[in-house]
């Protein structure tokens, strides 16, 4: 038996192990699930080691060290010691007495995320989408575009009104907010349909694996 064939069998057995949960919770499922938890943790461990830890931290420090020993100059790359230091602080959470130090690293992460997202979201999800909503409501000779533009402008406008918090939803304002909710609901309906589509596709993929790759029933 070649490695490939063994591999397909391992895959098939694990697939059935997870699916057995649908009948009821059982040791076979628990085994597969525990294996999944372990393997995915290990997978990420290996990937982060080779692709983040080594190139971003170790390589930079090695460079700094080499420059120091070979050319005797103190290089800018030494600042990566600070980054590594913040990383190590993160691990201190495991020790209750100094666990609070990990807040420093968390603060750094939160700060960078907040700063990056601030400008990005305002531009791409805010300004550009607003620009894209500025459409003429009447397009001569093209009924479809006319209706489409009206729907987009009205929907976006009313949807935003729904999210207004400092004004009560009543009167014309409330009416607009209600129209906004309808648009949101249609959007959710579409998302619902697409999510179902996505999940079914995954199941089809697994079924096809079992019937064609493993059992060879489908040509």
């Amino acid at each position: 038996m070649s490695g490939e064939v063994v591999g397909v069998w391992i895959g098939a057995i694990l697939t059935l192990g997870i699916f057995s949960f649908l009948y009821k919770d059982n040791p076979f499922y628990k085994f597969s699930e525990a294996l999944f938890v372990g393997v995915s943790a290990g997978y990420w461990f290996v990937v982060t080691f080779w692709q983040y830890f080594l190139p971003k931290l170790i390589d930079n420090l090695v460079l700094a060290y080499t420059l120091l020993t070979v050319e005797g100059k103190i290089d800018y790359h030494w600042v990566y010691v600070l980054g590594g230091g913040l990383g190590v602080l993160m691990l201190l959470r495991l020790l209750p007495s100094v666990g609070w130090l990990s807040r420093w690293s968390l603060a750094f992460i939160v700060g960078t995320t907040a700063g990056l997202q601030f400008t990005r979201y305002l531009e791409s999800n805010g300004i550009i989408q607003v620009k894209g909503t500025i459409l003429p409501l009447i397009v001569g000779g093209n009924l479809n575009t006319t209706i489409g533009n009206i729907v987009i402008v009205v929907g976006t406008f009313c949807g935003l009104i729904y999210f207004f918090f400092s004004k009560e939803h009543k009167g014309a304002f409330g009416g607009a907010a209600r129209v906004g909710v309808w648009f949101l609901m249609i959007t959710f309906g579409a998302l619902f349909g697409y999510t179902v589509m996505s999940r079914m596709s995954l199941l089809i993929g697994r079924m096809d694996f079992l019937f064609s790759n493993w059992l060879g029933l489908i040509g």
Partner: protein, 289 residues
């Protein structure tokens, strides 16, 4: 279970509502698996957004360079792999050069899996494609959207070497490719973060590149506003999107074959919602009276 005094026999609807969910599961197994055994040729309706992606690639001149970002993992293979294969077939048929990269560690691997499949084709084999001249796989670089941003200045900064350790300066295809100005289209295949949305925000909005995409069905609806504003040329949504692409290309593949299962599964879900609601309202009415 909840033992109330209402021991009187349950109505048909109540019994139906209390059905063991394993029976429901069984329906789904049958609905998905059985159609796999039939070869039914269905007419696949093509959506305008899928057409947009197809056109974006079709309109490129032979020799143009396409940067393909593979941002997904095996979890989304059934949805995105058919698109990946169709994409490579399309590019090779039209003599486009493909530069593969990944923002997800597993992405470039998925590209290799798709390439292996595509190279089995007779037409593709006949072209005798060469690594480094017709296509190149730069591999993965950590950094999410930051990579997109930095590539705007220089590809080499983010990808000094390709996935096999060759400096990109030594790869013929990469000669003269400094940044986005030197590629004609970016194709983003993505299953989440980082993915098409980041390509729009950090690539299109900042460097004004042309972008087409293929997404999982969960993600696709969120891309429509970007298509409407023109930030994105088009989007293929899920396995269905893959089937549309295969149809447009005239090379029906796996996604088209799966569509029968998909269709039956959708119909079954719709029936479940209808029956569930009928049963719910019927038994509620009865309780009230």
């Amino acid at each position: 279970m909840n033992q109330e005094n209402r021991q009187e026999e349950k109505s048909f609807w109540e019994k139906l509502l209390a059905i063991d969910r394993r029976i429901i599961f069984l329906f789904i197994v049958v609905a998905v698996a059985l159609p796999l055994f039939f070869k039914v040729s269905m007419r696949i309706p093509v959506t305008p957004v899928a057409q947009g992606t197809y056109e974006a690639i079709e309109s490129l001149q032979p020799g143009s360079k396409v940067l393909a970002s593979f941002d997904y993992d095996p979890g989304s293979m059934p949805e995105l792999q058919p698109m990946a294969e169709a994409f490579f077939r399309h590019c090779f048929r039209n003599d486009l050069k493909v530069i593969i990269m990944g923002l997800w560690p597993q992405g470039p691997l998925q590209a290799n899996i798709a390439l292996e499949e595509v190279f089995q084709d007779k037409d593709v084999k006949a072209k005798n494609l060469q690594y480094g001249i017709d296509y190149v796989n730069l591999g993965f670089t950590a950094g999410n959207e930051v990579v997109i941003d930095r590539m705007g200045h220089s590809f080499e900064e983010s990808y000094p070497k390709d996935g096999y350790g060759t400096p990109i300066g030594e790869i013929p295809l990469m000669r003269g490719v400094r940044n986005y100005d030197n590629v004609d289209l970016i194709f983003s295949l993505s299953a989440g973060y980082p993915g098409t949305q980041e390509w729009v925000q950090y690539g299109v909005d900042v460097f004004h590149v042309k972008l087409a995409a293929g997404n999982t069905a969960v993600q696709a609806p969120g891309m429509y506003p970007y298509v409407q504003t023109g930030q994105l040329s088009g989007v293929l949504g899920g396995m269905k999107g893959g089937a549309e692409y295969e149809t447009l290309l005239g090379i029906p593949g796996r996604a088209v074959r799966y569509m029968f299962s998909q269709a039956v599964a959708h119909a079954v879900i719709c029936l479940f919602i209808i029956i569930g609601n009928l049963a719910f309202f019927a038994s509620k009415k009865r309780k009230r009276s």
